[in-house]
Subunit: 255 residues, 2 copies
């Protein structure tokens, strides 16, 4: 016979809530062989601890977790799902991915199918944590943390990247334009992107339409070095790039 005390019951209930399950007081009362009042008190305690959202008849998972990552991910909600979806399709079953930092690539992780032998290599602590939460094997590149992009940069990181061989590098962009190619605001991040390109067989740039036609401070990659650009820009913006010979996948927001 198990211990049937508030602590254990509440622990079990909290776990269920974390898994996204609802709690029906009457059912749980029967399950634990206690009165509904007792379960009600348990739920009351869980609510006081911020672990449950009390509703009539039981409890629901609390909607907003406090983890800093989720805050950021929530902020990344502005990333177009279609952009993410198109990128996932392009990635396919590639087993070794090099993922750039940035809100766009971060949004990818949530939807990335979990393959058995898939490895994500990234200079971004954000991506690293997101991968962990999804139980994806991760290799984190080290180096000095660059404030603008929130990713590890510097010679150290670049040199180490050279030692790996990835199937696909997925890069974000600060700017991309027909003549100037892919450009970045931070020099160190530009270096990092170059290294990631060099270490991968295939380079994909995914970016929202606002970056097209823009030139950021530091030239990073020429268009001919980019295998594919995925964007949601208007056709008049993508045309000059497509004419330069680079493949472009354009997604349309539902309208």
């Amino acid at each position: 016979m198990n211990l049937n005390i508030p602590d254990t019951r509440q622990h079990v209930l909290a776990q269920r809530l974390d898994d996204g399950l609802q709690i029906v007081a009457i059912e749980v009362a029967e399950e634990f062989d206690v009165s509904v009042d007792t379960i009600r008190r348990d739920i009351l305690a869980l609510e006081a601890a911020g672990k449950a959202h009390r509703v009539r008849g039981g409890a629901m998972p609390v909607t907003c977790p406090t983890s800093p990552l989720h805050v950021r991910l929530a902020a990344g909600g502005t990333i177009k799902p279609a952009l993410v979806q198109a990128t996932i399709e392009q990635i396919g079953a590639a087993s070794t991915l090099l993922l750039d930092g940035g809100a766009t690539t971060l949004a990818l992780i949530d939807k990335l199918p979990r393959l058995d032998r898939r490895l994500v290599i990234t200079p971004s602590p954000w991506i690293a944590i997101a991968c962990q939460e999804r139980d994806i094997d991760t290799f984190m590149l080290g180096g000095r943390l660059s404030a603008p992009g929130g990713m590890a940069v510097g010679d150290v990181a670049v040199g180490k990247t050279m030692g790996v061989a990835a199937d696909i590098a997925v890069l974000g962009a600060c700017g991309i334009e027909a003549e100037f190619g892919l450009s970045s605001d931070d020099f160190a991040e530009a270096q990092m992107k170059q290294a990631m390109h060099a270490a991968a067989r295939r380079t994909i740039v995914v970016t929202d339409g606002a970056k097209l036609g823009r030139r950021a401070r530091h030239h990073t990659l020429g268009l001919q070095q980019i295998d594919l650009i995925i964007t949601d820009a208007e056709q008049n913006l993508t045309d000059p790039i497509a004419r330069a010979g680079t493949n472009v996948v354009t997604v349309w927001s539902h309208n």
Copy 2:
């Protein structure tokens, strides 16, 4: 029938706890044919030794430390502010800090005074992000990401750690005990802690009282390698360590 003395009973009970079983005082009392009071005293002893988590009606295994870091953080475990404060004081104005991963060290960042030439070196993406948000210069050690600890581990990470020189290494603990020293549940994490100790002039271990008297799977550092232990444990737990010659700072929760 075996001897029915405290030693043997407690040994049996400890084993059951190690197997993840709960202990119900009344049942065990019947089983050993002693009064409930005696079993209560046994559990009391086990708790003092850090081998049991005493609850109403019996005892439970000490909190299973194998759940990944992001789960533990989401569970809302709280770090004692006094513990953080004491550690901050010990760190003082040290300019290069080597910070272990873990919930305790993560809580440090929030309160860490921002010095001009301070640099935080860490294998933990969590810490890296927290530092970045507080505008603290950060160097991230790269490597394979370990799920349980939420930090970079492995040959690459150890190698990079060897290449740095820090003033103070602040380590967390899975277990710390007078004879066995500092121990970890994960071998790769144990390696990282050893490397961090080697790379710093001074090694501080900060841990809550629950870890004292506990032996985790892998021996990591001997007590003599640790310059200071900061904890909130009861004196009967810290005494054996202090007698072994290691400095111990004990903080008191409001009581």
